[in-house]
């Protein structure tokens, strides 16, 4: 029987993706492991490998198609010895589905007695379609009544009925704290938030022809969605500190000058100020562990490691690759890792696990000469450090005016998880480290 090739779920939250490019043509022979297409997700472009041998009988979703629902058929593979034409014509009845009309009927056949076979790369867990349309939570009357009696909020309950509808057994599970989704963000609060202007209202304010309409890509939409959710749900506060980076600048020059040269004559590493910032924040979080947390409704997640996201600007967007366990890594290791991550980020080739999660972030606009700014927290993190330019400023030392290289940094904190004094402790530790870079080495 022909095998359906489905839009893969490349991350737990992925609901739709774009078919960026087909690397095989209809009629091409395919071996397991061949890259057959490039799939564009919200933040990355991923290579899609075939998991079976056969012939690409039919491309159902042409390249460039956007918003294809996860598990939709995107192509049909005829097995060995199967009639390619028959396989192709069998595919005709299955038009590509838009993400809004997610149907379950397109999942591939499972082998006997096994769970449905995941397509490669395998999704960690695919969430059921959330049963919400705007502010409405789909639930059965009995489920609503049971929830009311048990004083259970339907918002976080994961529905197991048709189309993710919440049914009685979900409430029974919720009573014992099971089957709850991570706190959903915007939909639950929708009612309390003033509606934005409609597209038509915005356009009406400008003359026809006086603008060009640039369609959103997935990254733009994800940024809009995640950061709107962040600002609407996270009570932000900000703390600014000036750091004297005179010693850091000197140390950096010394260290870089001492870098051993490889065969090609290039130095083995070249540290940037930002590499020191990453390391300093990672160590500071270890010293103030109460600030290395994530807010969840059921409790604070207190992280053991410092996974530091670093905002990387791209044409038309940005992405935050993560340096994991940064507190344990040497400056040169951090530097080399960042160089690789940033390069791949610019090619949009990062894998979801390389940019999802993290316990804090760094956003550095110093190279643009920005003196001081505030950054929006990247959930599920609770802090982000905004780094301004290191510049010579006049400072007063012992009653004397002096010149010093000063870098202003501003910490944004999630007040649900971190109070003012705790934030201050974290930024003070950061200052101590960044002003005395030797301490980072120990």
């Amino acid at each position: 029987m022909p095998t359906n090739i489905l839009m893969p779920a490349l991350s737990p939250t992925m609901e739709k993706g774009n078919v960026a490019r087909w690397l095989k043509k209809e009629g091409d022979k395919i071996k397991s492991g061949d890259v057959i297409a490039e799939i564009e997700t919200d933040k990355a472009t991923m290579e899609y490998e075939a998991i079976e041998d056969g012939t690409l009988a039919k491309i159902v979703v042409p390249e460039g198609t956007q918003d294809v629902a996860v598990n939709s058929v995107i192509a049909v593979l005829a097995g060995e010895g199967e009639d390619v034409k028959a396989a192709a014509s069998a595919a005709k009845g299955a038009p590509p589905q838009k993400a809004t009309e997610k149907k379950a009927e397109t999942v591939a056949a499972a082998p006997p007695s096994a769970a449905p076979r995941p397509q490669k790369p395998s999704p960690p867990t695919v969430e059921a379609v959330p049963a919400t349309r705007g502010n409405r939570i789909f639930s059965s009357p009995l489920a609503r009544r049971l929830a009311k009696e048990a004083n259970i909020d339907l918002n976080p309950v994961q529905g197991s009925g048709p189309h993710g509808r919440i049914i009685a057994r979900d409430i029974e599970r919720a009573k014992s704290g099971k089957g709850l989704r991570a706190p959903s963000i915007a939909p639950a609060l929708g009612a309390a938030i003033a509606p934005a202007m409609s597209d038509a209202q915005v356009r009406a304010l400008f003359e026809d022809g006086s603008y060009e309409l640039i369609p959103h890509d997935n990254m733009r939409r994800t940024i809009a969605q995640r950061l709107t959710a962040s600002v609407q749900t996270i009570p932000h506060f900000y703390e600014t500190m000036d750091c004297d980076i005179g010693r850091l600048t000197a140390a950096r020059e010394e260290i870089n000058a001492a870098a051993p040269k490889g065969k090609d004559g290039k130095p083995a590493y070249k540290l940037s100020v930002n590499d020191f910032v990453i390391k300093a924040l990672a160590v500071a979080l270890q010293r103030v562990p109460d600030a290395n947390v994530s807010w969840t409704e059921s409790g604070l997640l207190k992280h053991k490691h410092s996974d530091i996201g670093v905002a990387v600007a791209l044409p038309g967007g940005l992405i935050t690759p993560i340096v994991r366990h940064a507190e344990t890594k040497s400056l040169s290791a951090i530097s080399n890792e960042m160089r690789d991550l940033a390069a791949r980020a610019r090619e949009r080739k990062l894998k979801p696990h390389e940019y999802q999660g993290g316990t804090s972030s760094v956003s550095n606009l110093g190279m643009y000469g920005i003196k001081d700014f505030t950054a929006v927290i990247n959930p599920p993190q609770s802090t982000i450090l905004a780094i301004g330019a290191g510049e010579e400023r006049a400072v007063v030392r012992n009653g004397q005016l002096a010149a010093a290289t000063i870098m202003s940094v501003t910490l944004s904190c999630d007040h649900r998880a971190i109070d003012g004094a705790l934030g201050a402790e974290l930024i003070r530790e950061f200052k101590t480290l960044i002003e005395n870079p030797v301490m980072m080495v120990v």
Binding site: P2, A104, E105, A109, P112, P116, S140, P141, L142
Partner: protein, 472 residues
């Protein structure tokens, strides 16, 4: 692929098997179905459908007899037993052809013969006695990634009352009588026994029903059992409960049955007897033992998606356990094959399978009986509404019947619904939908029921459970 290799192969083309085959084909599986005798199985050929045709004849005959009640005249009324049977057979034939058409339309290969499973994925089909329909594949070896056993059930035979098919019938013979016997003993008062009792009584037989349990229609709610029994006795059916037939003495053209009823033993002499003491699964000659497929008291043990303990082998319908009903088989087959496909299929909730008996008056039910709810120590509210309070029922001349509903007192969940009376088999589905959508009494009370219909009683019964009944 050669024509002997399939994705899904189904053994048995009854209502479970053929519906499963259609769904499998819809899902893109290369599908085959093996049948040894009749496309459509017992249901279409020797069960559900032909009995409904017989009962329809009986119902119309009953109306003729009561023409006067409606201000009509009917003289020289009577029936032709052969004609009644011929109509019933014609109805079956039509549907049997229909299944053949559906298999063709859905590109399901029909394989004619007796199947046995050699190993997971391998089936041998031997020629059967009956003639294959046009276009069917014949005996041979077949391969299939997934094998679904849907071989159904057959009449249970109890020692001492073995059917001889001449004097002591099973449903097969009872469906095609040469003539209507003057007297008839029905052993067993489940759906099959009661439907034949009703049919033959309407056509004039002296009918005696013997049930070993304390009540007839053992699976029904107590109120319904009592109401139905009174109706049947009023029609002249003799009913013995807590009674057992221990021996059938076959004479030349009659049967002397020995019945133990409490302390008493008596002999009932009748022209014919029907053994309707249940059905048992067809699990033999399939190779199950060799494969190590688990069985339990004549049925195959399956999980909620109808997988057996042996990978690649599934079982649905009667052969996978009770309730042994066509609609249960159909739905199980769909769930099973969707799960094979890897779809997000929901297992069937067996508490929400309705049951219908097409005697006169009809009986229909779904969910918990009052006695079962009490055994589960549930705090319940019960509502009842009699047909006599319904305008449409009176206009139809069918003012005898009862609708009963059972709610969970605390949550308002509809736990069960039980009905006896005209057309209730067509009404029950309203409650079944409500239960599946998890409605509470509130939504049912907010639902507008059309007037004048029998369905208004369904709302009245709900209102009654909450002390708000209107028309009584």
């Amino acid at each position: 692929m050669a024509d002997s290799s399939f994705d899904v192969l189904i053994i048995g083309s009854g209502p479970g098997g053929y519906v499963t085959a259609i769904r499998a084909s819809q899902l893109g599986f290369k599908t085959a179905i093996v049948e040894r005798d009749y496309l459509g199985g017992i249901c279409l050929n020797w069960g559900c459908i032909p009995t409904k045709a017989l009962l329809r004849s009986a119902e119309i005959f009953h109306y003729f007899q009561h023409a006067k009640d409606y201000g009509l005249k009917a003289n020289n009324i009577g029936y032709d037993a052969k004609g009644v049977v011929a109509r019933s057979r014609a109805v079956s034939k039509r549907l049997n052809d229909g299944v053949g058409f559906l298999m063709k339309k859905n590109k399901v290969s029909v394989i004619w013969g007796e199947a046995s499973i050699d190993a997971p994925g391998k089936v041998t089909v031997k020629a059967s006695k009956s003639d294959a329909p046009k276009g069917a594949l014949g005996a041979g070896s077949y391969r299939a990634k997934h094998i679904i056993i849907a071989t159904g059930a057959r009449p249970r035979v109890l020692p001492g009352i073995e059917p001889d098919k001449k004097l002591v019938w099973t449903y097969f013979e009872a469906m095609v009588p040469d003539r209507v016997p003057k007297s008839l003993l029905v052993i067993g008062s489940g759906a099959i026994g009661i439907e034949f009792a009703s049919f033959y009584r309407t056509l004039g037989s002296e009918v005696t029903v013997v049930e070993v349990l304390p009540q007839i229609l053992p699976v029904e709610d107590h109120d319904i059992q009592v109401f139905a029994r009174k109706s049947f006795e009023k029609q002249g059916i003799k009913i013995h409960t807590n009674a057992k037939i221990t021996k059938l003495d076959k004479k030349s053209d009659s049967v002397a049955a020995t019945m133990e009823e409490g302390e008493k033993t008596q002999t009932i002499t009748v022209e014919r007897a029907i053994s309707a003491v249940g059905v048992i699964g067809n699990i033999e000659n399939l190779g199950l033992e060799k494969l190590g497929v688990k069985t339990d008291r004549g049925t195959i043990v399956v999980d909620e998606y109808n997988k057996t303990n042996v990978p690649g082998i599934h079982a649905i319908g009667d052969v996978s356990g009770p309730p042994m009903l066509a609609h249960k088989a159909e739905h199980e087959g769909v769930v099973c094959v969707e799960a094979i496909k890897g779809l997000h299929s929901h297992p069937m909730n067996k508490l929400m399978i309705p049951g219908c008996t097409y005697c006169s008056p009809q009986i229909a039910s779904v969910g918990l009986t009052e006695q079962a709810a009490k055994e589960k120590k549930l705090d319940i509210r019960v509502g009842r509404f009699p047909f006599i309070g319904n305008g449409k029922a009176i206009a139809l001349g069918e003012d005898q019947g009862l609708v009963k509903v059972i709610f969970d007192k605390k949550t308002g969940q509809l736990l069960g619904a039980h009905m006896v009376g005209a057309e209730v088999t067509e009404l029950i589905q309203g409650y079944v939908v409500a239960m599946n959508l998890e409605t509470t009494e509130e939504e049912l009370m907010h639902t507008v029921f059309p007037h004048p219909t029998l369905s208004e009683m369904m709302k009245e019964a709900v209102l009654d459970a909450y002390g708000r009944v209107l028309n009584i």
